[in-house]
Symmetry: C2
Amino acid sequence: MAEQIGELEGLIRDERLRDLRIALDQLNTGDIVDFLERLGVKDRAVTFRLLPKDTAVEVFDMLDQSLQHEIIEGLKDGDVAHFFESLDPDDRVRLMDEMPASVARKMMRHLDPRERSLTNIVLGYPDGTIGRQMSPEFVAIPEHWSVKQALEKIRRVGADAETVYTLPVVDRARLLKGVVSLRQLMVTGEETVISSIMSEADSVDADHEAEDAARRCADRKHLAMPVTDKEHRVVGIFTVDDALDILERAESEDAARHGGAEPLHRPYLSTPVLQIMRSRIVWLFVLALGATLTVQVLDTFEETLEQAVVLALFVPLLIGTGGNVGNQAATTITRALALGDVTTRDAFKVLWSEARVGITLGATLGVLGFVVAGLAYDWETSAVIGLTLLSICTLAASTGGLMPLLAKKLGADPAVFANPFITTFVDATGLIVYFMIAMAVLGL
Amino acid sequence: MAEQIGELEGLIRDERLRDLRIALDQLNTGDIVDFLERLGVKDRAVTFRLLPKDTAVEVFDMLDQSLQHEIIEGLKDGDVAHFFESLDPDDRVRLMDEMPASVARKMMRHLDPRERSLTNIVLGYPDGTIGRQMSPEFVAIPEHWSVKQALEKIRRVGADAETVYTLPVVDRARLLKGVVSLRQLMVTGEETVISSIMSEADSVDADHEAEDAARRCADRKHLAMPVTDKEHRVVGIFTVDDALDILERAESEDAARHGGAEPLHRPYLSTPVLQIMRSRIVWLFVLALGATLTVQVLDTFEETLEQAVVLALFVPLLIGTGGNVGNQAATTITRALALGDVTTRDAFKVLWSEARVGITLGATLGVLGFVVAGLAYDWETSAVIGLTLLSICTLAASTGGLMPLLAKKLGADPAVFANPFITTFVDATGLIVYFMIAMAVLGL
C-alpha cells in the first residue's frame, strides 16, 4: 500500500487522471478511503469524482464527517441529494451537524418520506446521547412468534435493517422483553417459540451518554444493543461499529487533550497548518499562564537563590520528577476511570494507594539523589535534594491520583483536566517545598 | 450499580455469604465481572465460588487473563479442567501464556482430542501475530454451493463456530475466494450459487502483527476477517470482539507509557501497591537520569547565572513551554501513526508542517512573553525571553513531530519513546539555547 500511495500521488501531481482512474480500480474501498484522507481538499474532490458511482457511495459512507462535508460542498445539487440519501439515518444526522442549517434543511426536503421520518427520530435526541447515534432501522421480533416466523421476517425486511444479527424481542406493546441472535434462530427448531430461547437484553436508554454506552457495548462484546425510551419501548439499535466510531473519536480527543491540544477531528495530512496551530495555541497559552506562577514563586525566593545559586541547578530536575510522578498517577487513574475500574466513590482507596506509592518512589529516588548530589556537590545541598524528592513525589502521586476523580466529580473530562494541570500545580508547590526545605537545612 | 457495589462489598466484609449469593443472583454477567475486578485475590476467589456453575463459566470467559489465572490457582483440579475446557481455543492459549508451562501442559492433556488439536493450531503461531489470536473454529462455504446448502451447513455446525455472520468462501483447494455474510444468504434466493453473491475478502495473513490487523478490522468495520496462511488457505477467523480486546490492551499500554509507566495489565483496585510502584520506578529513574543533563547544562552556565540571577526565574516557564509544544506535536503524530493517517515515509511533510506550526506558536508566545516580561522586569531580559520562546517552540515542535516517526522506523513503540523523552531532550537543548541567547543579548 505504501508504495502505491507514492505512485497515486505522482499521478495526481502530473494530472494523469486517466491512469489514476485505472489505478483506483485496483484498490479496495478501505484503501481508497485511506488514500483520500491523505489528500488536500482540491485533490480529494478531483479523485473522488473519478470513482465509479457504486464505489463512490461506499467510500463516501466510510469517510470522516468533516471530509464528507467538504466533498459535498464541491458537488452539484443532484449528486448531493444522491449521496445524502445513500447514508444511514444516523450517519446522515452526523453529517447534518457539520453543515449550515439551511443546507441541511434543503437536503431533508429532498429525502423520501420514510427516510425523512427515520432521520427525524434520531434528530429528536440531544447531541451526545446514544439516541442521536443509534439507527432507527431495527428488526423487532414479537415474543410469541415461532423461529420460522422470525426467519421469514428477516428474509423480508433484513436487507434494509442496520443489523439482523441481534434482534430485540418485544411484547404486544412493543416493550423490550429480551434479545435473540440470528445464530440462535439458525440452530433452533423452526417451531420453537421465541420467548423460550431469547436471552436477557442488555439495553441502553436513548438519553444515555453516547460514550458510556459505546464503552459498555465494547466491554461486554455485544454486536448490537437495543435502545429504549423511558417506557422501555424499543426505539432503535446501536451496533458495535457505531460504538467503535464513538470510542475512536473519544480516544482521539483524550489523546489530543492529554498532550495539551484540541483534537483535530480530521486526518493529519489533510489538516491546514493554521488549523493545527489553532488547536494548540489556547492550551499552550493557558499552561504558560499557569507557569508564570513558577516565576512568581522563584521571584519570592530570589534572595535565597542569590545566596546559594547552586539551588538553581536542580530546579528542572526536581520539578520534572514531580511532574513525571504526578503524570504517572493521573494517567493510571484516568485510564481506570475510563474503563470503569474505579469510580469517584473510590477517592479514599485511590488516595491511600497513591500516597503509599508516592512515599515509596520518593524514598527510593531521595536516597539515590542524596548520594549522587552529595558526591558531586556537598552533603548539605544533597540533604535538601533528597528531602525535596521525598516530599515532591508523595505530594505529586497523591494529587495526581485525586485530580482525575475531582475532574470527573465536577463534570469535566479527566483526560483534559488532569495531566496538563498537574504539571503546573506540582511545579509551583514543588518549588515552594524545595525552598522551604533549603532555608531550613541551610539556615538561610 | 454504584450503590450496589457498596452493599456487596459490605456483605463480603461482614462475611454474610448467603446474602451475597442472593445479591449476586440479581446482577447480569457484565455487572458481576465489573464487581470481581474490584476485589482483592481472596475476596474474589470467595465470591467466584458462590456463583452458579453456568454463570461462573460465562463470568470466567469475560475476566482478564491475569485474574483468570489467579482464580484457577485457587480451584480444585477437576474444576480447573472444566473452566479450561469451557474457553475458546484462542482464549485458552492466552490463559496458557499466563500459567507455568508445567500446569499448561497438564491442562492440555485433559482436553478432548478435537479441542486439543484446535488449540495446537493457534499455539503454532508466534506471540504478537494475529494467528495467535484468531479462532480456528470457522465455517467455510465452498464457492460452488447453493445458498440452501450453505444455510444447512450453518444450521448443522453453527453452534460451535466462533461466528456464523461472516463466512469465508473457498474453492476445492480451500483457497480463500471471497466472503459472504449470513445476512446476504438470508435475503437471497435459495438456489443462487455462492460465487455469484460473495464479495471480495479483506483477509489478513496469520503472521501479520496482531495490533495492526485489529486496527484494520475496527477501521473498516468488519464483524470478522478471514485469516490465511502463506498459500492463501483459510486457517482461522478473527472477530471484531477479539479486535476490541487487542486494541483496548494496546491503548492501555500506550496510555500508561505515555504517562511514563509500565501498563498494569489488571484492574487498578485489584493491583497491589508494590506492583504499581514497580510499574513506575524504572521509567522514573530513566527520566531522572535524563534530567541530570539539565543539572550539567546549568552547571556549565553557573557563572552567567551568578551574574544575572533573574535568568533563573524563567527556567521552569521556558522549559515547561518547550515541553508542552513538544508533547503536543508528538501526541498528534503518534495518534496519526496509530490511525494510519501518516507513515514513516511522510517525515518531510510532517517536519514541514510542524516547523511552521512551531514558528507560528513561538512567534505568538514570544511577542507576548516579550511584552509581559518587559513590563515586569527590564527590556533586555524580556528580549532574551521572547527570542528563547521563539527558538524553543520551533525546535520542540519539529523534534516532537519527528520523534514518533523515528521511533517507528527503529521498531520502537512511538507512544513509549516520544513523549517522555521529548521533555528531557527539549529541557536540555532549550537551556543551552536560553543561555546562548542570554549571553549574546546581555553581553555576559
